[in-house]
Homo-oligomer: 301 residues x 3
């Protein structure tokens, strides 16, 4: 079959003319998805050497491999920075300073990620070894990328940090905005469906289960009825808090006090003091015998 | 180690003999997963040129790149159609008409997708630019593929539309059946865990959060106790509705009236009139002091 | 831009010196992620021949293709086993026995997976054909890999089974621990966010929807306040049970009696007898008119 596709192509090209939803021409300075994916993989390889490779790195070669990876990643990241900062004054020196800062901060980020591994090992009876956590727990990939992205976010690098956490979201189902500030010994079990918003502050030793949302309640609007960008919109979670599966905590003024426990499926819009245990009453659940449609005798629920 | 694997192979080959769960021989006419994945990527590249590539497309080359892509995609899609329509009368002319229809509809689909980008920009304070939405919001990939798959679904093309939306589901965690009809200015924030059923009708300017289910309540059975295929099973959502995280709305007779707001974690089996605000009472949540097991003094929840 | 990256590399290499979070040197015996991914794809190709390939396998070649795949996969799996069992006595004979057991069990596992396909076909009105299920239902990939991983788990093979189910989790959003024991005719619709814990026992003809958690309630601690590893921590689900979206069932002593139905969003910490229907009371949901802030007149919810 030979289609005459010229007409279809022309109509598509016509539809590109309004410049909306098109990335054509080299003026836009957008990073590409494959570039960001490659940056993320490179970072994970430096943060946990040998775990994101074909296997263990040979002891004699690890020095050279690391040097090569650092050099390549520095160049790649620098090129992406020049593109996204292109329109700004002094993009060159700024980009250089950003690259320097990133690589100097990788060892401290490694140190914090090791506390996350410890938190998972201590917090999950199913984890037999720390290697199992690094090789198979999706949260470590998500928080590893987010901790680096947060560094870039704080330096006001546009687009790249958000694309990095979205790369991790696609891999893991865990959606952590690069703006969120997260303490040490962080652990998310299972992870699918977790959402952590841009203006969250999360303390140390916080444990989340899958499906937990730390989100916005409602959005302030300007005089034209448009949503205002920015502002504190997401909760704060203090040290030592545990939040069980599918709980939803919303609002910029909401604070979960230290060492509190939030039960599964709880929907919380207000602050709770330290040491709180918050749970849904079970009373409103009905258990009936399907065969008789009567309550089960002596059913305690 | 040299295993004598002949015995193991023979047993597996024996187990293929009942022809169940095997795709052997060229009579079956099934599309392959890699073919469908490649179709989806090609469509996204045509719908948002330069965003699903290694970077911006050069202005001077975009015409030729687009023509090449259209020609390749038309041939690939035509071949897949001939396979899945193989058993039908006049598969040839039908396949040609389907290819023609798809490519003629791509510009109008682009126009609707631009309204989806606008809805995300206006609906999410965290979105700094429209480029950020196209590069990093998973819902746009999901709805982009679904809008094309819905077109094919309405033309009764088997298998391919369902495999397309399932490809997008695997990328994004957003599961929209190709049968669902969805209006303009659609926005899903975060997205993981969203399920939209086959017979949903969704109006314009609808905003969903992650974990929202628009699903079936129960299934009609035939005289032999088997579930009946088909039938209206999923809710309708009118214009301007917002549904917060992890809400579940079920049933083919359920209608969410226009401009309503459904709160997080709500479980809704009935219709609500326009302008409704539906939320779970907070009263049955308990907040106790873990250290004393007594309610927190003055706790308002 | 030429960065002097030597200093950055040196600091990273220094941070590798504590041997935490590093897989350097060939003594560790860890499987690599790409190896495990390749094992999973190879298994799916043997379990459902022609569905995880570029298309249908040619009838004349299927014998040779299968023999080649079995031989390659046996070698690869044997090499991975030798690595992870490296520190044990008689790793060689044990690894051989494990390979033999795996391949002898693939035909029976195929037989059970066919019952899963039937369960999906009979349980979902949207499924038009069994081919559609094999080509586009993510649960089949998840349960296919889990049934094999469970076999390896029961033989106390470390790491590999857990990495296999985590590979499937990343593809599908369905997180089933390899320790879970699952009966025939199993079906998960949609799937994103499902979590099934290590010590679950699930009967035959069980149907789950997306977002269902079968998890642990709390963890026993030892005299030093550390969580005890192991122990029965997750629920049992008897034959014929259906659990609707986003329900959470927790606890090692929790048993869902046969033929019970658990409603959407239910949070259940106790056992229920056979034939139970468990659902949340709708009474505590409020429906108000957003324009007047008064309840909708005559609203029955």
């Amino acid at each position: 079959m030979q289609f005459s596709t010229e007409d279809w192509s022309r109509r598509l090209l016509d539809s590109y003319r309004d410049h909306k939803g098109v990335n054509i021409g080299d003026h836009t300075g957008l990073p590409s998805k494959p570039e960001v994916a490659s940056l993320c993989v490179g970072l994970l390889q430096l943060l946990f050497p040998g775990y994101h490779d074909g296997g263990a790195l040979a002891k004699l070669e690890v020095g050279q491999i690391t040097r090569d990876r650092v050099a390549t990643l520095a160049d790649d990241f620098h090129r992406m920075l020049l593109a996204v900062l292109g329109g700004r004054e002094e993009a060159g020196p700024v980009a250089e300073a950003r690259v320097k800062h990133l690589f100097e901060q990788l060892p401290p980020i490694r140190a914090v990620l090791k506390t996350d591994v410890e938190a998972a090992f201590e917090g999950d009876p199913a984890a037999a070894t720390r290697d199992e956590i690094i090789l198979s727990y999706p949260f470590l990939e998500a928080i590893g990328i987010q901790r680096v992205a947060h560094l870039l976010y704080r330096q006001e690098i546009p687009l790249i940090p958000r694309m990095m956490t979205e790369w991790a979201h696609a891999q893991t189902g865990i959606d952590i905005h690069p703006g969120a500030s997260i303490g040490s010994h962080f652990f998310i079990d299972h992870g699918t469906g977790v959402v952590i918003g841009e203006t969250c502050n999360i303390g140390a030793r916080v444990k989340l289960y899958h499906g937990v949302t730390l989100g916005a309640r409602s959005f302030a609007k300007d005089e034209f009825g448009r949503i205002k960008k920015g502002g504190k919109r997401h909760p704060d979670v203090e040290d030592g808090v545990t939040i069980y599966p599918n709980a939803t905590v919303l609002g910029g003024g909401t604070v979960i006090g230290r060492n509190s426990t939030i039960g599964g499926n709880v929907f919380l819009l207000h602050s709770v003091p330290p040491n709180s245990l918050v749970y849904n009453a079970e009373a409103q659940m009905h258990v009936v015998d399907k065969t008789s449609k009567a309550p089960h005798p002596g059913c305690s629920i």
